[in-house]
C-alpha cells in the first residue's frame, strides 16, 4: 500500500497543469463552501441575536389577542399580571423558575414628534434601562450620553431619528401619543442618549424611555405589552418552556401566549430551513467540481492503459489498480480541499473583522437584519468543507478508477 501511495503521489506530477486545474477546481468549491457557511452563519447568528434582543427574547409572553394586533401597537391587550398576582409578582415568580435568568418587560406604543416640516412617527419603547443594557447590545450602540433611567422623563433615540427631528443629546423633545384610554396627549422629554446603529430599527424608528414613565403617561399601572424571558441557554429553551406554561396555566394566565424564539418568528424558521437547503447546495457544488477530477482521471486512465496492462502483467490485482487511481484522485482531493479550506478560512477571518455591506439590498425589506454582515470564522466550517471536499471527490473518483481496474490485461497491453 505504501508504495502505491508513493506512485500515486508521483503520478500527480506527470501532467502538472492538468493536476493543478483539478486541484484548483476542488479548492475553489471548498473555499466557496467555507465562505458561504461563514456568511450564512454570520447572518443567522446576527439575525438570531437581533430577534432575541429586540423582538422575541428567549421566551416571549404576550396576550393571545395582542399577537394579532402587535403591528398596530395596541394597548388594549397588555400583560398585567395573573388572577391573584400583580405584574411585578408575576415577573418575580417567573424569574424564580428553573433556567430563567431575567425577565425583561417592554411597553410598546406609537408616538410622534412634530417638526416644522412634518410629523415624525416613531416606536416608543418603555423599558427597564438597566435590564436592557444587560440583555441587549444597546450599551455598545450608545454613541453619546447614557441609557434611560427609571423615574425620569427622558428618552434615548437613534442618530437618524435625531436628525429627522433636528435634535441632539441634551435638548428637549415634545412627543405626542395616544393613551390606553385613547386620549391624545403630549409630554416633553430630555434626550439623554444617542444610538448609532446600522440597524434601521434602532437608528430610525425606536425611542427608548423608562417603563415607569411610559406607564404613567399611558395610564397603565403595572402593565407591559410583553415580557421577554432570558434563559440560561437559548438552545435549551424548549426545556424551560413547559415550566413557564405550567406556571401561567396554574395561575389563571391561560390568555397569555408563551412562545419560544424559534417558533415565534417566521423569519427565523425560514433561516433554519434555508440552512438545511444550503447543505445540499454545498454537496452539489463539490459534485460539480469533482466532475473536473473525474474528467482528469478518465483522461489519465485512457493515457495509461498500456501501463495498467503492464501492472496487471506484473501481478497487480484489480483492487490494487483501483486503489492506485483512487489514491491519485484522493491526493488531489486532499490538497485541493486543504487549500480551499485554508483560503475560505482566511477570507472569513478577514471579513469577520471588516464585514460585508448589504445595506443596498436590505433598503426596502422589513426584516430585523443588520445590513453589515460579519461572516463567522470557525475552524469547524473549514473542517466541514474539507471533509465534504475529500469524501465527495474520492467517492466520485471511484467511477474512473473502476474503469481502470476492470481493464483486461491483454486489451490494455494492446492499446497504443
Amino acid at each position: 500500500m505504501k508504495f502505491l501511495i508513493s506512485i500515486a503521489f508521483k503520478n500527480m506530477f506527470r501532467n502538472k497543469l492538468r493536476t493543478v486545474v483539478s486541484i484548483l477546481a476542488i479548492a475553489f468549491a471548498v473555499m466557496v463552501i467555507v465562505f458561504t457557511r461563514g456568511l450564512i452563519d454570520g447572518m443567522i447568528e446576527d439575525t438570531y441575536s437581533l430577534y432575541i434582543h429586540y423582538d422575541t427574547g428567549h421566551i416571549k409572553i404576550i396576550d393571545q389577542e395582542y399577537e394579532q394586533k402587535e403591528k398596530l401597537l395596541s394597548l388594549n391587550y397588555t400583560v398585567n399580571g395573573l388572577e391573584n398576582k400583580s405584574l411585578s409578582e408575576m415577573e418575580s415568580d417567573l424569574s424564580d423558575l428553573d433556567g430563567i435568568e431575567m425577565v425583561v418587560p417592554r411597553l410598546k406604543f406609537g408616538a410622534a414628534v412634530s417638526t416644522e416640516e412634518e410629523l415624525v412617527q416613531m416606536l416608543a419603547w418603555g423599558v427597564d434601562g438597566k435590564k436592557e443594557l444587560k440583555f441587549t447590545n444597546i450599551g455598545r450602540e450608545l454613541s453619546r450620553g447614557r441609557m434611560v433611567e427609571s423615574g425620569k422623563r427622558e428618552v434615548v433615540m437613534g442618530t437618524a431619528l435625531l436628525d429627522k427631528i433636528n435634535k441632539t443629546v441634551g435638548e428637549k423633545v415634545t412627543m405626542v401619543y395616544t393613551t390606553a384610554f385613547s386620549s391624545f396627549q403630549g409630554a416633553t422629554f430630555e434626550i439623554v442618549g444617542e444610538i448609532k446603529s446600522n440597524l434601521p430599527l434602532l437608528n430610525e424608528q425606536v425611542v427608548f424611555m423608562p417603563i415607569d414613565t411610559a406607564r404613567q403617561l399611558l395610564y397603565l399601572n403595572d402593565e407591559s405589552t410583553e415580557l421577554l424571558l432570558v434563559t440560561a441557554d437559548r438552545d435549551q429553551v424548549n426545556n424551560y418552556l413547559p415550566a413557564v406554561r405550567n406556571y401561567l396555566d396554574q395561575n389563571g394566565g391561560e390568555r397569555y401566549l408563551a412562545q419560544s424564539w424559534r417558533s415565534g418568528n417566521t423569519f427565523i424558521q425560514l433561516l433554519e430551513v434555508s440552512e438545511k437547503i444550503y447543505n445540499f447546495i454545498y454537496l452539489f457544488l463539490v459534485l460539480l467540481s469533482s466532475i473536473v477530477v473525474i474528467n482528469t482521471l478518465v483522461m489519465i486512465v485512457k493515457e495509461r492503459t498500456q501501463e495498467i496492462g503492464m501492472m496487471s502483467a506484473l501481478g497487480l490485482k484489480s483492487r490494487e489498480i483501483l486503489e492506485l487511481f483512487l489514491l491519485e484522485g484522493s491526493a488531489m482531493a486532499v490538497i485541493g480541499s486543504f487549500l480551499g479550506a485554508l483560503g475560505g478560512g482566511l477570507i472569513n477571518y478577514y471579513l469577520s473583522g471588516v464585514g460585508f455591506d448589504y445595506s443596498a439590498a436590505f433598503e426596502d425589506i422589513d426584516v430585523l437584519m443588520n445590513p453589515i454582515i460579519y461572516p463567522t470564522f470557525k475552524i469547524e466550517h473549514m473542517i466541514f468543507a474539507f471533509v465534504i471536499g475529500v469524501v465527495v471527490t474520492t467517492l466520485t473518483a471511484i467511477i474512473p478508477a473502476r474503469r481502470a481496474a476492470k481493464l483486461e490485461p491483454t486489451e490494455a497491453l494492446r492499446e497504443i
Binding site: 501501463e307 503492464m310 497487480l316 490485482k317 483486461e408 491483454t410
Partner: protein
Amino acid sequence: MSLIKLTGLEKIYQQGKIEVPALRGIDMEIESGEFTTIFGPSGSGKTTLLNMIGCLDKSTAGEIIFDGHSINDLDNKELAEVRRYNLGFVFQSYNLIPVLTAFENVEFAIRLIDKHSKKERKDKVMSLLEEVGLGDMAHRRPNELSGGQKQRVAIARALIKEPKLVLADEPTANLDSETSQEVLELMKEMNEELNTTFIFSTHDPQVMDYARRLIEIKDGKISKDQRRD
C-alpha cells in the same frame, strides 16, 4: 517435469457475431531453462499463445499446466497471484513507469512480493542493475535512458523476483540491430546464469538466431518445432 504443458489449447475471439479462432489446438511442452522463440506471420496467434502461457488470458478449450498445476480454473485474482510470483514480462515498448527511476521501476516488481527487507531489496535491485550494465544509471528516469537501456531496465524488472518464466513479446522490435544484440546477449546470459526459462515471440531473425528452440505458428497451429544444440 515440464514447466509448461499445453494440451489441445484453443482460443476463439468473438467479434460481434463472428467467431475468430486465434489458436486451433496447440500441444506443446516447455522444459525449465529453455530459451525458446515463437515466430510466425502477423495474426498467426503468437501473442495470443504468449498471453495464454503468461496467465493474461483464458483459453476457450484445452488445458494449460504451469509448473505442475492446471491454471484453467483459476479466477482473475488467482491468475494475478501466479503472475506476481512466477512470471516476468518484457514488452516491445518497455512499459516502464515514467515517474519512477530505473531503480524504482525494478523495485516495483519485487515490492509486490513483499518478502524482502528494504536493505535486501536495495542490494538485490542494485546488484541486478549492475549486472545489466546500468549500475550508474539507477537514478535516471526512463526519459533519460536510451531504448536499449530502457529494455535493460525492463529485463531487470522481469528478473528481479527470480521468476520461473520470462515472456518477451517482440523485445527487440523498437531497437536497432546493435542494441538488439546487446539485449539478446544479456537475456541469454541471464538464462544460462539463473536457469530462467525465456519464451519470445518475434519476427526478428536476429532473435531466432539466439534461440535454442524455434516454434513456428501458422493459422493458430504449430507448423514447426525445431530444437538446436
